[in-house]
C-alpha cells in the first residue's frame, strides 16, 4: 500500500475537541482520492499528517511500507524529498528562484533531476515562455502550474494537494486540475486531494468526507 493511515488522532494544544479522531484511510499507486469537508473539519491537518509534516497523537501513518513514527526529523525530510509531492493552495513557490529553478528544485534536492522531463512538464503546463520569470511576476494560475510542475518533476510516488485551486477562479481552477489529474495518471502516482468543493471532488476516482474529525464515505 502506498499510503496507509490507521486510527490516527490529533488534538491541538488548547483545543476543546480533537481535530481528528480515529481516522483510517488507504491509497495505492495510480489511485486518486478526494477528501472533502467544511472549513475547520481537519482536512489540512490530515494532509499534513499524511505528508509527515506533523505527527499524530495516536495511530500510524505509513508511506510505501515505512511507518513515519519510526523516523526522526531527518528521516521524514528524506521521505518527503524522495517520495512525496506537495501542492499548496497558496502555491508556496520559492520567491528567490525563477520559475525554471522552482520547477527543478525538488527533483534536484531528491537527486532525480531530469531536464527533459522538466522541459516537457513546462511545455505541457504552458510555462515554457515564463521559465525566467520570478513568482511575483506570474499570475495566480501560472504560479499554481509551476507548483504542480515542481511536484511532478521529482516523479513522486504520492502527490498530496491541499486546495490546489482554492485561490484560482473557476475556469483556471478547472484547467489546472485537469492538467494535474492527467499528469498524475501518466506518472502512475497516487493522489490525495483536499478540497471543500464537491464539484471538483467528483472528478476523482474516490471520495471521502471529513466531518468533526471523523471520516465518512
Amino acid at each position: 500500500m502506498l499510503l496507509d493511515i490507521r486510527n490516527v488522532a490529533k488534538t491541538f494544544a488548547g483545543a476543546d475537541a480533537p481535530v481528528l479522531s480515529d481516522v483510517s484511510l488507504a491509497l495505492d499507486r495510480g489511485q486518486s482520492l478526494a477528501l472533502t469537508g467544511e472549513s475547520g473539519s481537519g482536512k489540512s491537518t490530515f494532509l499534513h499528517l499524511a505528508a509527515g509534516l506533523d505527527t499524530p497523537d495516536a495511530g500510524t501513518v505509513a508511506i510505501d511500507g515505512t511507518v513515519l513514527g519510526t523516523l526522526d526529523d531527518a528521516g521524514r525530510a528524506r521521505l518527503r524529498r524522495g517520495t512525496v509531492g506537495l501542492v499548496f493552495q497558496q502555491f508556496n513557490l520559492i520567491p528567490s528562484l525563477d520559475a525554471g529553478a522552482n520547477i527543478a528544485f525538488q527533483a534536484r534536492l531528491a537527486g532525480r533531476h531530469d531536464a527533459a522531463w522538466c522541459a516537457a512538464l513546462a511545455d505541457r503546463l504552458g510555462l515554457s515562455p515564463h521559465l525566467r520569470k520570478y513568482p511575483e511576476e506570474l499570475s495566480g494560475g501560472q504560479q499554481q502550474r509551476v507548483a504542480i510542475a515542481r511536484t511532478l518533476a521529482a516523479r513522486p510516488a504520492l502527490v498530496l494537494a491541499d486546495e490546489p485551486t482554492g485561490n484560482l477562479d473557476e475556469a483556471t481552477g478547472d484547467a489546472v486540475l485537469t492538467l494535474l489529474l492527467e499528469l498524475v495518471a501518466e506518472t502512475g502516482a497516487g493522489l490525495l486531494l483536499v478540497t471543500h468543493s464537491t464539484r471538483l471532488a467528483d472528478r476523482l476516482e474516490m471520495r471521502r468526507h471529513l466531518s468533526a474529525g471523523r471520516l465518512s464515505q
Binding site: 499534513h48 526529523d73 518527503r80 506537495l86 520567491p95 528567490s96 528562484l97
Partner: protein, 800 residues
C-alpha cells in the same frame, strides 16, 4: 477619533514588545555614545573656560613676554607709571600631595572685577586675601591636597577649574619661589588717553587680544573634534538601527494604516499620530541613552583627563557635572535623528494607496531601482570626497571628506553584495546551493541597513586601528632616534647647573645642553631650543627634509631647524626665512618630525641661542655615557638630586608611550562600542526577519529539508554576509586610515605619518566580526530549529 486611532496604532507595540525594545534601545545606544562624547568634551571645555576666565584670557587683552616665561615685577610698575592700566598675574605649578596644582596669583586692587575668584567678597575679605597667611581659592576636589601642602587658608570654590588655585600675587610668588616675577599683565579695557605706545615702552612684550582665545582651548580643539567625530560616527551607526526598526514597524502596520483611513481617519491626522508616537518613543530613548551616555563618559573621562594633562598640560575635572545644555542637546539630537530616520517611512505612508491590497509587503523589499539609486548617491558622495581631499583645506574639509567617503561606502554596499551573491548563484552547483545564494540575495534588502552599520563600524575599526598602529610604530622608532642621550638631568638652580657642568665634563662622554625659551612666533607659542654641535644630533635627529650641510649651517648660527607642525602651520619649507623674537630672521635649513608635541619648536645653534636669549634658563642637560646607572648613582650621591630631576632614557620612553597609549584608550573604547552597536543591529535585523522568513522557509522545509539544516544555513548566511561586508570594509578602512594620517592628522596636529599595513589585525577583526555575526544568527537559528511543525504549517493553512 484621535484616541481610537492612537489606540489602534499603539496596539502594535503591545503585540511586538521586542520590536519596541529594539527601536528604543537602538536610539538609546546611538544617543548614548553621542551624548557620552559630548559630556566629555563639555566638561573639558568648561574646565578650559574656567581656567581661562580666571586669568581673564577670554575677556581681557594680555601683555606677555615675547621671549621667556616671566617678566620682572618692575615692568608692571613702570607701565603703571607710564599710564597703562595693567594688572599683574603670576602663573605656575607646585606639587601638592602628589598632584600638580596650577597656582595663579592676581592683584585684587588692580585686577578687573571679573578676574577675582567666584565667592571672593572684597571688603573685609580683601585683607584676609592679601595679608599673611593669605587665602587660596580652589576647586573643591583640589582643596584637600592643597591645604596639606601650603600654609595659607584654602577656600573651596566650585567656579574654579580643577587643579587650579587663585591667590594674591605676593602669596603665589612666595609659594612658587619666584619673588618679584610675573608671567603676564592683564590690560584693562578702559585706558587713559595720551599714554605712550607699547612699541616704545615694551618692545620686548607682545599684546594678545581676548578674541584669540586661550592657548589650551586652541591646542585641544583638534583633540575634541576627533572625539566629536567619533561620537557622530557612532550615532550614525545607531541611526541605521533606528531606521530599520521604524521601517519594519511601519511596514507591518500598513494594513492598519489603510483600515484606519478607510474608516475615516484623515491622512494628516494619521501622520500627526505617527509623528507624535515617534516623538514620545524618541524622548524615552533619549533619556535612557543619556543615562547610558553619562555612564560611558564617567568611565572614559579619567583617561581623557590624563591624556589632556599629559599632552597639553590642560587640567580637566575627573568627575562629570550634569549641564542643562547637555541634556537639551542630547534630547535634540535623539529627536532629530529619529525624524531623519523616519522621514522615508512617513513619506511612504503619505503615498499609501487606499485601495491597494491590504497585506504587508516583505519588509523593505528592495529592488534593482533602489540599489541603483543608492549606488548613484554613493558615486556622487565619492566624488564629493575626492573633491574635498583635492581642494579642501583644514579639519572641516577633512571630516567632510571622511563623512562622504564612509557614507559612499555604506551606500554602495548593497550593490556590491548583490553582485557578489548573483555571481555566487551563477557559480553554485546543486539545488540547495543555488537556493542558498538566491535566497541570501533576497534577504539583502532586509539586512542591508544592519550590514551598512557593520561596514561603518568595521571600516572605522580598520581605519582608526591602522592609524593608531602606524602612529605607534613610527612613534616608537622616532623616540629611539630622538631620545639618544642615556640620561637627562635638571639642575635646581643656575649655580647648581654650573657645578653640574664642571663635575660632568670629565665623567660623561658628552654633556648636551637642553636650553629653551618660550616665545611667540606669528602669535602662537613656540619653544626655541639651543642645540650643541654634536654627532648625537647629526647622527640621530629625525630630519624629514633638509638643505645640504644642514648641521654645519645650524652650528655656525646661520640657519635653524623647525619641527613639522610649525612648518605646516606657517607653510614653511627649507630655504624660507622665519622672523624670531630678538630681531633675527634665520633661514630654515631643515624640518624634523616631532610627534606628540602640539606646539611649534625651532632649534638654534647653541652659540647663537645664548647670544640671542642670554636669560634662558640653563638647567637641563642630556648626558651621553656608556654606564648610565653608575653615572646616575654618582650624580645622586654628589648633588642629592631628587628622582624627578634625574631621568634615564627608558623612563622617558615609558612615560611617552604611556601618554601615547592613554591618548588612544578613548578611541579604542569608542571603536569597540561602535562595533557592539553594529552587532546589535545585525541581531535585531535577523530576529525581526526570522519571523517574516517563515513563509519563505516553510516550503523548503516541506519539500524535504530539516529545520536543523535550515537553521545551519541561516548561520552560514550570516557568516557569508559578514565576510563579504568585511571584504568591503578593508579597502574602505584603508582609505579612512589614509585620510586620517594624511589629512586629519596634518590639519589637527600638524604631523604627517607614514602608513603601515597590519593584515593580522584585519584577520583578528574578521574573526571578531564573524563571531559577532554567528552569535547574532545563533538565536534566530536556534528558534528556527525549534519551531514546532504546527507553527510552520500555519504558512500553508493561511492562519498567519
Amino acid at each position: 477619533m484621535m484616541a481610537a486611532g492612537l489606540q489602534a496604532l499603539l496596539s502594535h507595540w503591545r503585540r511586538r514588545p521586542g520590536q519596541l525594545a529594539t527601536l528604543i534601545l537602538g536610539l538609546a545606544l546611538a544617543t548614548a555614545l553621542w551624548s557620552g562624547v559630548q559630556a566629555i568634551n563639555a566638561e573639558a571645555r568648561a574646565s578650559y573656560d574656567r581656567a581661562a576666565a580666571a586669568l581673564g584670557e577670554t575677556r581681557h587683552a594680555q601683555l606677555l613676554p615675547a621671549v621667556g616665561e616671566t617678566l620682572p615685577q618692575e615692568r608692571f610698575v613702570a607701565l603703571r607709571r607710564e599710564g597703562w592700566l595693567v594688572s599683574p598675574v603670576i602663573d605656575g605649578r607646585i606639587e601638592a600631595a602628589g598632584t600638580s596644582v596650577r597656582l595663579i596669583g592676581i592683584d585684587p586692587l588692580s585686577a578687573p572685577g571679573d578676574v577675582a575668584p567666584r565667592g571672593f567678597k572684597g571688603g573685609n575679605g580683601l585683607a584676609a586675601f592679601m595679608l599673611p597667611p593669605g587665602e587660596l581659592y580652589t576647586h573643591p576636589d583640589t582643596a584637600p591636597a592643597l591645604a596639606a601642602a601650603v600654609g595659607a587658608s584654602v577656600i573651596p570654590a566650585a567656579g574654579i577649574a580643577p587643579g587650579t588655585a587663585i591667590g594674591d600675587v605676593g602669596l603665589v610668588q612666595r609659594l612658587l619661589d619666584r619673588p618679584g616675577q610675573l608671567t603676564r599683565l592683564i590690560v584693562l579695557p578702559d585706558q587713559p588717553l595720551g599714554r605712550p605706545g607699547l612699541d616704545q615702552i615694551a618692545p620686548d612684550m607682545t599684546l594678545r587680544t581676548p578674541d584669540q582665545g586661550s592657548d589650551v582651548a586652541r591646542l585641544t580643539d583638534s583633540f575634541h573634534l576627533n572625539l566629536a567625530a567619533f561620537g557622530l560616527l557612532s550615532f550614525a551607526v545607531g541611526l541605521f538601527i533606528v531606521h530599520g526598526a521604524i521601517g519594519l514597524a511601519f511596514e507591518q502596520r500598513r494594513p492598519v494604516f489603510r483600515t484606519l483611513r478607510a474608516l475615516g481617519l484623515p491622512l494628516s491626522r494619521l501622520i500627526a499620530l505617527l509623528v507624535a508616537e515617534l516623538l514620545v518613543l524618541a524622548s524615552l530613548a533619549a533619556v535612557l541613552g543619556m543615562v547610558l551616555g553619562y555612564g560611558i563618559a564617567t568611565a572614559l573621562l579619567p583617561d581623557v583627563a590624563a591624556t589632556l594633562r599629559g599632552l597639553y598640560g590642560a587640567d580637566v575635572a575627573g568627575s562629570l557635572s550634569l549641564r542643562p545644555a547637555w541634556w537639551a542637546a542630547g534630547l535634540g539630537i535623539a529627536l532629530a535623528g529619529t525624524t531623519l530616520a523616519a522621514v522615508g517611512a512617513l513619506i511612504r505612508v503619505a503615498r499609501l494607496p487606499l485601495l491597494a491590497p491590504a497585506q504587508p509587503r516583505a519588509w523593505a523589499r528592495g529592488n534593482a531601482g533602489t540599489i541603483r539609486a543608492q549606488a548613484g548617491a554613493a558615486a556622487v558622495l565619492a566624488l564629493v570626497s575626492v573633491l574635498a581631499a583635492r581642494y579642501g583645506t583644514g579639519l572641516v574639509a577633512g571630516f567632510a571628506m571622511l563623512g562622504a567617503l564612509l557614507l559612499a561606502t555604506a551606500l554602495i554596499l548593497p550593490a556590491i553584495l548583490s553582485g557578489a551573491l548573483a555571481l555566487g548563484a551563477r557559480l553554485a552547483r546543486g539545488a540547495l546551493a543555488e537556493w542558498f545564494w538566491a535566497d541570501t540575495r533576497q534577504q539583502l534588502p532586509g539586512l542591508s541597513l544592519a550590514l551598512m552599520a557593520l561596514l561603518l563600524a568595521l571600516a572605522a575599526n580598520i581605519g582608526v586601528g591602522t592609524m593608531v598602529s602606524s602612529f605607534r610604530l613610527t612613534f616608537t622608532g622616532w623616540l629611539d632616534q630622538r631620545l639618544a642621550s642615556e640620561l637627562y638631568v635638571t639642575a635646581r638652580d643656575e649655580a647648581e647647573a654650573e657645578r653640574l657642568r664642571a663635575w660632568l665634563a670629565p665623567r660623561a662622554d658628552a654633556v648636551l645642553p637642553i636650553w629653551s625659551v618660550e616665545a611667540r612666533v606669528a602669535d602662537a607659542p613656540v619653544f626655541l631650543y639651543g642645540v650643541a654641535d654634536h654627532p648625537t644630533y647629526r647622527d640621530h635627529w629625525p630630519l624629514l627634509d633638509a638643505l645640504p650641510g644642514v648641521w654645519d649651517a645650524v652650528a655656525a648660527g646661520e640657519a635653524i631647524l623647525v619641527n613639522e607642525q610649525l612648518a605646516l602651520r606657517q607653510g614653511l619649507a627649507p630655504g624660507d626665512g622665519l622672523p624670531l623674537p630678538g630681531g633675527w630672521t634665520p633661514v630654515i635649513a631643515g624640518i624634523y618630525s616631532d610627534y606628540g608635541n602640539p606646539t611649534g619648536q625651532a632649534l638654534i645653534g647653541l652659540d647663537r641661542f645664548t647670544a640671542l636669549y642670554p636669560d634662558a634658563p640653563r638647567l637641563r642637560y642630556g648626558l651621553r655615557t656608556d654606564d648610565p646607572q653608575a653615572l646616575s648613582r654618582a650624580l645622586t650621591e654628589e648633588f642629592g638630586l631628587p628622582p624627578e630631576n634625574l631621568i634615564d632614557q627608558a623612563a622617558i620612553k615609558a612615560f611617552s608611550l604611556q601618554v601615547f597609549e592613554r591618548t588612544f584608550t578613548v578611541t579604542g573604547a569608542l571603536n569597540v562600542l561602535t562595533l557592539a552597536i553594529a552587532g546589535f543591529a545585525i541581531l535585531t535585523s535577523l530576529l525581526t526577519l526570522a519571523r517574516m522568513r517563515q513563509p519563505q522557509l516553510a516550503p523548503v522545509w516541506a519539500l524535504g529539508l530539516t529545520r536543523a539544516r535550515l537553521a545551519r544555513l541561516e548561520v552560514l548566511r550570516a557568516l557569508l554576509l559578514a565576510a563579504l561586508t568585511l571584504a568591503c570594509a578593508v579597502p574602505a578602512g584603508l582609505a579612512l586610515a589614509w585620510a586620517l594620517l594624511n589629512v586629519i592628522n596634518v590639519a589637527a596636529f600638524g604631523w604627517r605619518l607614514p602608513m603601515h599595513l597590519f593584515p593580522l589585525d584585519w584577520l583578528r577583526l574578521g574573526v571578531l566580526s564573524a563571531l559577532a555575526a554567528v552569535l547574532a544568527a545563533l538565536w534566530p537559528a536556534r528558534r528556527l530549529a525549534r519551531t514546532p511543525p504546527s507553527e510552520l504549517l500555519k504558512v500553508f493553512a493561511h492562519e498567519r
